[in-house]
Amino acid sequence: MAAISSDNHGLRLVVRYAVLTLIAAIFIFPLVFMVMSSFKPDLQLLRDTSSFRAFLPVGDLSLDNYRDAFTRAPVATFVFNSVLVTGLTVLLSLLFCSLAAFSFVFLNWTGRSVLLSVILATLIVPFETIAIPLLLLVSKLPWIGLDGFQIGWLNSYRVQIIPWIADGLTIFLFVQYFKDLPKELIEASRVEGASWWQIYRKVVMPLSGPVLATAAILKFLVMYNQYLWPLIVVQQESYRPVMVGLQYFFQLDTAWGEIMAYLTVITVPVLAFYLVLQRAFIASIASTGVKG
């Protein structure tokens, strides 16, 4: 009996791992293909796609593609721009959206449920429909910077950051999370004399690790993959982000090897971000586990 059931158990484990491995493989193969191809000359790269060699580091391998990619386009500038814009937007978005959600959930003011519904309604509006009105708006907005007063936000970092800070989805994530926090924790803080800001800083935020991580990942992906918006608001090369930069490689002759090298380079920040966040994510769950 025991032997049979443990055999059964073992078999099930094998099947489970096989399925998981397969799924992991489906996700990882394109990445492997990308990295491997980035080391191969175009001719070999295209020839290899017809066989399993596409996923293997075989044949004539070199860093030529990387050298060529960096000469064809200001890759470092693009990566810097994207990392800067994405990083700042993620941070500001976490701050402002969590503050908004805090107010919606914990503060008592008239009209807050109506306003929250309006914000949630924006979730179903695709960006394409507001892109042009938003373009007209930002082209007329004033700004006071280091170089004085000016009209119009085009060709800048701010035009890539500010419109993306607040969004319905992030606010919604925080609202849902805050609603599930034990109400008594907030009440106890109030009795103890904490101001709303202190409650936000010292009680709510330290308990919000999981939702901060989730919101950060989603925002990061949206921002790092920005294409349409920077395409229409940034003409100046020095402000361009990575996705728009990809265009440089689809000119007269498409250089596949260089494209793969470029893609490999711009994937590095994404992986780094995931690794850092995964650690923080697990740590925050472990330390805040509100157990009953």
Partner: protein
């Protein structure tokens, strides 16, 4: 230490009124317990005193000062919640010191106060732990410690023991009683456990549907319940009620009877009756005993005998079909079906004009 005065306190959620005009005076250093069935408004009342709910109408005074519109933290109160409400991301020490840290109290004073609270609650060894590494009773201790360091005029407790198991509940109950003796602060304590109410309170306030049914010392409420609700609510096993008919009313007594009860004159206690009306007679199970001689006053048959060690509980079906419980002080077995005649001291019985 302070007095708390509630005058005509009302609370409505939209069109629904849940507290319907409550007047209570709590003396300096008094331990007052609010009891009542679930949903009667105990927590709401306590939270209004704490300042966590707005007061719809009426006046609340703490220490002689109107506090209706004061922030919770300005009222001189501390509150202990049913769910403890301790911060999971802070150590016990940080939890206990939370209010002091928030209010910028100096390090030395803070440490002294935390140490003092830890000593009172015997939790010095827990100070550096996280709440997740504490038992339920220890967590509640932390919550009480957090209240103590604030040095409040009034402690508010909302069912602080209801998440603990029976044995621990008894320990903590004693500790809270001792804490009250040591600190001498005014305390308001909400529970629906009448044992907690009876053991802890200087004064019990019985609530029902947002109204005070009776307020007074535990034994006064036990012996002189003002109405049917209070009579039935306090005491375990709860008071027996019998539907009776009034046959005679005198200056001090009222004579009642029914199919199983011979006519008996019971103190009227100023209540008004008219001969011929239906009324309710209440007798506590402890005051019933089988008649050794004579024919007794109540007649029925034993349905079940339960021996609890310290007492024996008889389930009796009376001649008119109604049920009755008698608690006998001694070990006594009466076989089911045995005919019993019971006696009671009319002076310990209560008659209410209301019907059940």
């Amino acid at each position: 230490m302070a007095t708390v005065k509630l005058r005509g306190i009302r609370k409505s959620y939209g069109p629904v009124e849940v507290i319907k005009g409550v007047d209570i005076d709590i003396n300096d250093g008094e331990f007052v317990v609010f009891v009542g069935p679930s949903g009667c408004g105990k927590s709401t009342l306590l939270r209004m005193i704490a300042g966590l709910e707005d007061i719809t109408r009426g006046t609340l005074e703490i220490d002689g000062k109107r506090v209706n519109d004061l922030e919770p933290s300005k009222r001189g109160i501390a509150m202990v919640f049913q769910t403890y409400a301790i911060f999971p991301h802070m150590s016990v020490r940080e939890n206990v010191a939370f209010g002091l840290t928030i209010n910028g109290v100096g390090k030395a004073e803070k440490e002294a106060k935390v140490a003092e609270a830890a000593r009172i609650l015997q939790m010095e060894h827990l100070l550096d732990r996280r709440p997740s590494a504490l038992s339920g009773g220890q967590r509640q201790r932390v919550a009480i410690g957090r209240a103590i360091v604030r040095d409040p005029k009034v402690f508010l407790f909302d069912e602080p023991l209801s998440n603990l198991d029976a044995a621990l509940r008894m320990d903590m109950r004693m500790e809270i009683g001792k804490l009250h003796q040591d600190l001498g602060a005014s305390m308001i304590y909400v529970t629906h456990d009448q044992v907690e109410a009876m053991t802890l309170a200087d004064r019990i306030v019985v609530l029902k549907d947002g109204q005070v049914m009776q307020a007074g010392a535990p034994m006064d409420l036990y012996h002189e319940p003002a109405n049917l609700f209070v009579a039935g609510f306090l005491g375990a096993p709860s008071m027996n009620f019998m539907d009776v008919r009034v046959s005679e009313v005198t200056e001090s007594n009222v004579t009642v009877s029914n199919g199983a009860l011979d006519p008996v004159a019971v103190p009227r206690k100023g209540r008004d009756f008219t001969p011929g009306q239906q009324a309710t007679l209440g007798v506590r199970p402890q005051y019933l005993s089988p008649a050794e001689t004579g024919r007794g006053m109540l007649h029925g048959r034993v349905a079940l005998t339960e021996r609890l060690g310290s007492e024996t509980v008889l389930d009796i079906t009376l001649k008119d079909g109604s049920k009755l419980i008698a608690a006998l002080g001694e070990d006594r077995i009466l076989a089911p079906g045995t005919e019993v005649n019971l006696n009671f001291d009319p002076g310990q019985a209560h008659v209410f004009p209301e019907q059940r």
